[in-house]
Amino acid sequence: MELILEQVTISLGTQVLIQPFSFAIAAGETVTVMGPSGSGKSSLLAFIAGDLPSLLQGQGRVSLGGRDLGPLPPEARRVGRLFQDDLLFPHLTVGENLLFGMARGNSEERDARMRDALCSAELAGFEARAPHTLSGGQRTRVALFRALLASPHAMLLDEPFARLDADLRNSMRSFVFGHLKERRIPSLLVTHDLADAPAGGRVFTIGSGGKVAHD
């Protein structure tokens, strides 16, 4: 499944934050968009996800697997997201967080999928733990698997490694990108740190005047 952005532009009133640009992200590929703070990187992801703040205006066409996402509400787009904060729901346990986005169905099968995911996240037996008892890396892994268990057709990564320390960042990068590649999910990463980009992946930069250029 391919994520295609065509003539996408973001503006704040008359100020153009991102000039029109187009690219396609193939299944299993992670494309990186870089830019300084305030350049509109996160707004670009919000536009794709369908929850751009009302102050901003987004234009252009976003399609996923040939389906135009424009008319769909955020919950129907099948676009998963990872943020700088893990945003695990504090009133739910780790296991309940994983079940939250999983499709409805037989509860035993859902529980089994949840436990499998915990094994893959190297967190077997953590289902009853409260999110605040986990370390930063563990929380990021739970957030990733929570998103993956919702069966997204694309992933948007909003600086998900920014709050991790240097050692953990390296291991989490390969962990996240590895799982996305293995599941053939097209992903868009925004960051201001080139080191976050997957090795060999395409990198675009938002330059002065909001121009998006391929590095």
Binding site: A49, E75, G80, D85, F89, E96, M102, L156
Partner: protein, 543 residues
Amino acid sequence: MRFGVAQSFGIGLVAFLWGLPLAASLAAFAATALDFAAWNSLLHHPQLPEALPLSLWTGTAGLAAALAAALLVTMGFYGTAHWQKLQTSTAVGLSIPHLAFAIGFGFLVMPSGFLARLFVGGSEPPQWVTAQDPLGLALIACLALKETPFLIAMIWSVLAQGDVGPALAGHWRSARSLGHGAGSVWLRVLLPQIVARLRWPIAIVWVYGVTVVDMALVIGPTQPPTLAVIVWADLNNAAEDINARGSAGAMLMTLALAAAAALAWLAVSLAGKKMRRFMTGGPSSFGVPKTSTTLLTAAMIAIYSLVLFTLSGMSLAGYWPYPRLVPDTVRFAAWQGLIANGGPVVLSLMLALTSSALALGLVVLWLEAVPARWDRALTISAVASLTLPAIAMASGQYRFFLELHLTGTQLGLFLAHFIPVFAYVFIVLKGPFRTFDPRFQAVAHGLNAGALRFWVSVKAPLLKAAIAIAAAVGFSVSMVQFVPAQLIAAGRFSTLPMEAVTLASGGSRSLTAAYALALAVLPMFAFLLAQMLGHSRWRLAWN
């Protein structure tokens, strides 16, 4: 532990002026539990078997309707461009006192009221029972309409709290990306996280609704009335045994509320497991009914506007035959009457200004001089005094003041206003003062500013919006005091709400409307003034 002079002075003053009368009033109220003759008399009261369930029904139904409306409005407008604008409307609704609203609402829905003129017409007013109905529907509607802005404001203040707001906004986006519709995200993610912070506001609304006197006197059922009205009549009776029966009635209401609260807590605990299954059962596209929320919001704004319009129209109406939409003649007699008999207005203003000024001074002294660890005791006392039924507090206060020969005195009347005002002002100011960034003080000291200059030039300007709002809240709370004030005044003084209640039970409609409008407008002015005084360049920059 070493006590500084300012610290001891702050604690001592608050304890003497607020804590002592409060504690003594509570003790005097608690003592009524031991008056078995009064209990016996109460339990044989012929109207009790109907009045107690009626009170619980009207208060609970009013709360349920207000809560549902507040949640729908919040769900409909959270994160939209209209979010800020609605906060202004909410503030206006919030500033109108319950009593003034009830009088205006009664006039609006009465058979010859503006609603019937607008929608029914005909040559004669319809034969409707629109107020004082036996099921208390008018009282429920009034409570629901009046409490909705308060609950919206409480929900919004939780959503705006620094430790919650940004996280909830993130959870909102995250849950939507996991396949949940807006309504589902509210029910499964946001509400479970904020409900614990809303329990006290909900409790206050519920207790108020079950035990309200002034609104019930104006628009509530009469055959029988709610228990609060029966208790009120007993407490106003000079005969000692009847008065004691009133105190026992207030105690019964308190115990009934405590039992009902315990039942509600048990039900919520039992439902907890099912709720967790509901929360994690998988994505749901359940959205927010946008059209319904927009219509509901528009209807509420329209009713509030019509209530104010009706009060204005009635206060100025000369000859206004049914079904004309505007009066044939305009007369200023009601306003002239209100000004000529200016005593109640002036007394209410004086009490509001002095009690809010003293409360503000004392609270600021406390927050500046007393360490934060002492706040817990004061917070518990303040919340307890506001959560307890006003009629129960008033009953205890009356007995205590009677012992001190303070009933019917200016000092007694002032204290009856000051006690609730202090509690509200403290609750409003505690957060802004205690979360004030201490690094500002360090920076100011580094720039050679002493303590006084730091306070005047840095802290006070940064907190002036909160101080102004606290003053307005204190002023409004004082303006609307009815139950304790009427008992303590012992017929020797009359304030604006006392006059309005008396007039509403059979006085001239235009004069009643004028008093109700004065009661509504003065707190609104206070909030408007607070908003103007609290307006800051730096807040604009941050927004």
